[in-house]
Every structure is written in C-alpha cells, then in structure tokens.
C-alpha cells in the first residue's frame, strides 16, 4: 500500500501504524482486553472473601445460571429498566421543551440558558450532595415546593423504598436535560425559517408546526441525543453513592452500582465478571442496533 507522501514506493510504510500505536495500545489494554477478561472470568468461581474460593475454579455456565435465577438480579434489572426508560425519554422531552423556551429573542435569554446548562459542568457528587438537602423531609426545598402545589405524600425521598429510585431519577433529569438542550438548541437554530413562514401562511398552528415540521426535521438530533442519553443512563451512578447507596434494600440499585457492590464490597470476582458481560452485552446491542439504524453514526447536524 502506498501513502500520499510517498506515492512511488511500493514497500509498506510503517509510519501510520507507528503513529496510531499509542491509541490502539490503550484501547486494547483498557477496552478490548478487559472485555475478553470479563468473559473469561465469568466462567470461573472466585470469591476473595472466602478462603476456599480465593483461587478461581472453572464452573462453566454456573455463574450465568445463578444470576438468571437470582431475585436480586431481577430486581436490579427492573430498577435499571425503570431508570433508563424513565430518564432517557423524559430528559429528551424536557431538553426539547427547554430548547424551545430559550430559543427566543428576549432580553436575558443568556441567563435562562445558563440556568439550564450549568448542571452539566457541576460534578455529579457535588450536585447530589446539595440535592440531599432539597430532599430533606419537612423543610427541604423540594418538599416545600411540592407542598406548595398540593403534594401531600411521603417526603423521605431517599429513604422510602417507593421513592428512592424516583429521587435518583429526578437528579439525573435535572443534571442532563440542560446538556441535551444545547443539541436541540443548535438544531433549532439551523432550521430553515421559510418552511415555518409558509406553514404559518397556510394557517398551521404553533402546535402543528412543532409536530409536523420541527420534530421531524430534528430527527437526527433526537437519534444522537438518544444514543448519548442511553449510554449515560447506564454509566452514571455517582449520585446513587451520595443519595441512597442503592437502598433502601436495593430499591435504587441499578446495574453498574450493583456491579461495583458485588466486586468491591462482596469481593465476588466471578459474579462481577458475569454482570460485566451482561452490561456490555446490553450496551453493545443498543449501540450496534443504533449504528445500523442510522448508518452514518456521526456527530449530527449541530454545527
């Protein structure tokens, strides 16, 4: 093969391989290798806190069998499903709404954008620490606000088994919506105005314009935001450490948090590897499907 720099020589140029080597090396070491390692380890029993199980023993598919039949796994999977299916569509809808609200020529719109976007640069653990106060029963601001609009339900958001998962989802919504908003904002600002003028002349209402023109035109933005929202929903668990620690009794434990717990608190290497394989499989299934659906999975028309 030839390069553009030396079109006449026929011998293999080692230079490109050499230059890409550092990146390829680190991807191999911290992405490819651990994926294979997890797959391998998932066929072994190894528990570091039990003396006779310290050394890995081959157990075939036993780990998978145990996982599939464990009620804990079912609960975690259900929580994860609720968390992902709850936060992803809601944060995208919210992001779209916020983008519409700040895509106007009014005074102080910069402050509005700032108010929605700043959570993006705030560390999740910092944000969650402050949210702890907002969730405080009686005088926490979140409860105060809810009471003001007539809410009379339970207030111990982070300690109530029915509310803990919702609490961590609320924080994720608040943190992410402003981030996804900027993609929609950029999309909105790139829309052709003449289409809307024509539609308005034809008597289309604002709701009709949104539904029949704006939304379809921003399809690629939505696809892109869905991808990053989905991946983010699986990999962000920082707020769970601060707010609920997965509790009460696993009520707010999602897959990645559970993986951490199993590996670093229960020291169960085999089970952790099995959970890793499941997590990676879910992520790959989604990203590959998405890739095939969109063909050209690139940074969309946001520039």
């Amino acid at each position: 093969m030839t390069t553009r720099t030396r079109p006449s020589r026929r011998r293999i140029n080692l230079l490109p391989y050499l230059l890409v080597l550092p990146t390829a090396f680190f991807v191999a070491l911290f992405t490819a290798w651990p994926t294979l390692l997890a797959l391998y380890q998932s066929f072994f029993r190894q528990r570091l806190n039990i003396a006779r199980f310290r050394q890995p023993t081959f157990v075939g598919l036993e780990n998978y069998q145990a996982l599939l039949t464990s009620s804990e796994f079912h609960q975690v999977l259900r929580n994860t499903l609720i968390y992902v299916l709850g936060t992803v569509p809601l944060s995208i809808a919210l992001a779209f709404l916020l983008a519409l609200l700040v895509n106007r020529r009014i005074r102080g719109v910069g402050f509005l954008r700032l108010a929605f976007f700043y959570p993006t640069v705030l560390p999740m653990v910092s944000a969650a620490t402050i949210w702890m106060f907002f969730f405080t029963p009686d005088y926490g601001l979140f409860n105060t606000a809810l009471q003001a609009i007539g809410y009379r339900g339970p207030q111990n958001w982070t300690a109530n088994p029915d509310l803990a998962l919702i609490a961590v989802m609320i924080v994720a919504l608040w943190k992410n919506a402003g981030y996804y908003m900027i993609f929609y904002l950029a999309g909105l600002q790139n829309l052709p105005t003449d289409v809307f003028e024509a539609a308005a002349l034809d008597g289309a209402t604002i709701a009709q314009q949104l539904w029949y023109i704006t939304f379809p035109l921003l399809r690629r933005t939505t696809l892109f935001v869905t991808t990053i929202a989905f991946i983010s929903a699986f990999q962000t668990v920082d707020h769970i450490f601060v707010l609920t620690n997965g509790g009460p009794s696993n009520a707010s434990t999602v897959l990645l948090f559970w993986l951490w717990q199993v590996r670093f608190e229960y020291l169960d290497v085999g089970k952790a590897a099995t959970i890793t394989v499941v997590l990676v499989a879910i992520l790959l299934l989604f990203t590959v499907t998405n890739f095939l659906l969109s063909e050209r999975k690139e940074v969309p028309d946001v520039r």
């Binding site: 680190f26 991807v27 911290f30 640069v121 560390p123 699986f234 993986l259 590996r263």
Partner: protein
C-alpha cells in the same frame, strides 16, 4: 421563531409570549435554585442550623464554613491530585488523538478500516462498565493507589481520534499537496498544515475532557485509597461521610462548592467556548 416570531403583534400573541416567558423564568428559577441555595448557605453562620422557616439566610455572612471545611479534610491535596490527573490525561490525549486522527485522515494503509473500528469500540463500551476487569489490570501493573491509575485508561480516546480525523479531513487537499511538493516531512505537514486550522477542535475536545475528568468519581473511588492521590470528587464523598459532618448543611455546601468552583468559574468565563465544545463532543 415559534412564539416570538408570530408577526402579527395581536393582543393574544403578546399574552402568549409573556406566558411563555413566565414559564421559562419559573423553570430557570427551579433549575438554578440548587446552586443558588448552596452558595447562600455556604456563607451562613454554622451556629444557626436550618430549621423550619428560614432555610436561606442567616444573621450575617461568613467565610468560616470554607475555612472549617478546608481544615477538616485535605482539600489542598485533593486539588493538587485532581489538577495533576486532569492535566496528565489532557496532555497525553492531545498527543495520541492528534497522531491517530492524522493517520486516519492522511494515510491509506492496509487494515485501516479494521483498526479504525477497533478504536471506535471504546465508544460502544464505556470504560466505566469495565471497572472490574480494569481494576485487575491496574493491580497487575502495580499501579493501585496512584494518580497514574486514575488517568491511564483514558490515554487513548476513540472519541478524540474520531473528532480530530473529521477536522483534519476538512483541511483543503491543495494545501496538503502543496506541503508535500515543498518536501514537508509528516511532522511538518502535521505541524504547519493540519494543526493550525484545527486548533478550535482540539481546544473544544480539551475543555470537555477536562470537565469530564474533573467530575469523575467511580473509577478513582475504585483505584485509590489514600488521601495523597485521591481526587476532589472522592474526597468530597469521604468528607460527607465523616462522622462529625452529619447534616451540617453550611459546611457541606462550602465543601461542595470548593469542589465545583474552579470548573464553574472556568465555565462562566469561557461560556461560549464551553457550550461549543460540549456540542462538538457529545460523548464526553
């Protein structure tokens, strides 16, 4: 475009516009209340606990909470650790993604597509999902409880490589060909032809890399154990779990803001750049 753009300034349209503005402001107040409350309370005397009634202002403003928080945990050391980790990652990434992006934009070679997709694997399997096996690798390399352990998984960046490749592809071919005719080496081509017009992309990537790794929590929690190497985020969570902290919100807010302040200030100053870089980045 949607509501404000209604050209007939009828009474109804104006009312609708005002209503939308009101809704926006209410939303924004709700969103901002988190940080505003934290700032206000961090300056409130700690001896005046928040109770029913006044959860905002105390009798006077004080810096005592910041002093106290700083003395209860080694925040100075945490700062140093975070800065070192973030700059190490950034420094290495700038080199690796520039070289890799250059290779995929400039050269044609056997196995190019395979290699490119191999690197893009990192986009499909986020590093945080692999924390268990990666922890084993860090142990095996003898890096446990070092700052390098926190940084090293991010030395190669599929996203950065992709971003730089796209940017390099937009450099006019004529310019590159002229460089080749002039006898530029690959290094001179990169330095004088490819890099100057793509600096904004590199800066955009840098900003999102810095804010992503400044805020990272789970991986450093796993691979560090001592205060000498622990970053701010992990330090903050340890701090909130200290027995004597409890629900002392003034103190907690001060500590929280200590962690978040540098990035927030940077963001306020370079707002436009930041948003642009996050737009570019997508996957952080």
């Amino acid at each position: 475009m949607f509501v404000s753009g209604v050209s007939s300034r009828s009474w109804g349209a104006r009312l609708a516009s005002a209503l939308v503005t009101l809704i926006s402001v209410l939303f924004a107040l709700g969103w901002a209340s988190i940080i505003v409350w934290a700032i206000v309370v961090s300056f409130r005397p700690e001896s005046e606990p928040l109770g029913r009634g006044d959860v905002w202002f105390g009798s006077a403003w004080t810096l005592a909470n910041y002093v106290k928080a700083w003395s209860l945990a080694p925040f100075g050391q945490y700062y140093l650790n975070t800065v070192i980790i973030v700059l190490t990652i950034l420094g290495v990434q700038v080199v690796t993604i520039t070289l890799a992006g250059f290779v995929f934009a400039h050269f044609r070679f056997a196995g190019q597509r395979t290699l490119f997709f191999f690197i893009l694997l990192q986009l499909m399997i986020p590093t945080s999902a692999l924390l268990a096996p990666n922890f084993g690798t860090i142990r095996a390399l003898g890096l446990f409880d070092t700052r390098l352990a926190v940084a090293i998984p991010y030395f190669g960046s599929a996203f950065g490589t992709f971003l730089m490749r796209q940017a390099f592809l937009e450099v006019p071919r004529d310019l590159v060909d002229a460089g080749i005719v002039d006898g530029c080496s690959w290094w001179q081509l990169l330095r004088h032809v490819y890099l100057p017009p793509t600096m904004p992309t590199l800066i955009a990537f840098g900003l999102s890399s810095v804010s992503w790794h400044w805020n990272e929590f789970l991986w450093p929690l796993v691979v560090t154990i001592s205060d000498d190497v622990r970053p701010l985020t992990v330090g903050l969570v340890r701090f909130t779990q200290l027995g004597e902290i409890g629900a002392r919100w003034s103190l907690l807010s001060a500590a929280t803001l200590l962690v978040a302040a540098p990035l927030l200030l940077l963001f306020l100053v370079f707002q436009r750049r930041f948003i642009q870089s996050f737009l570019h980045s997508g996957i952080k």
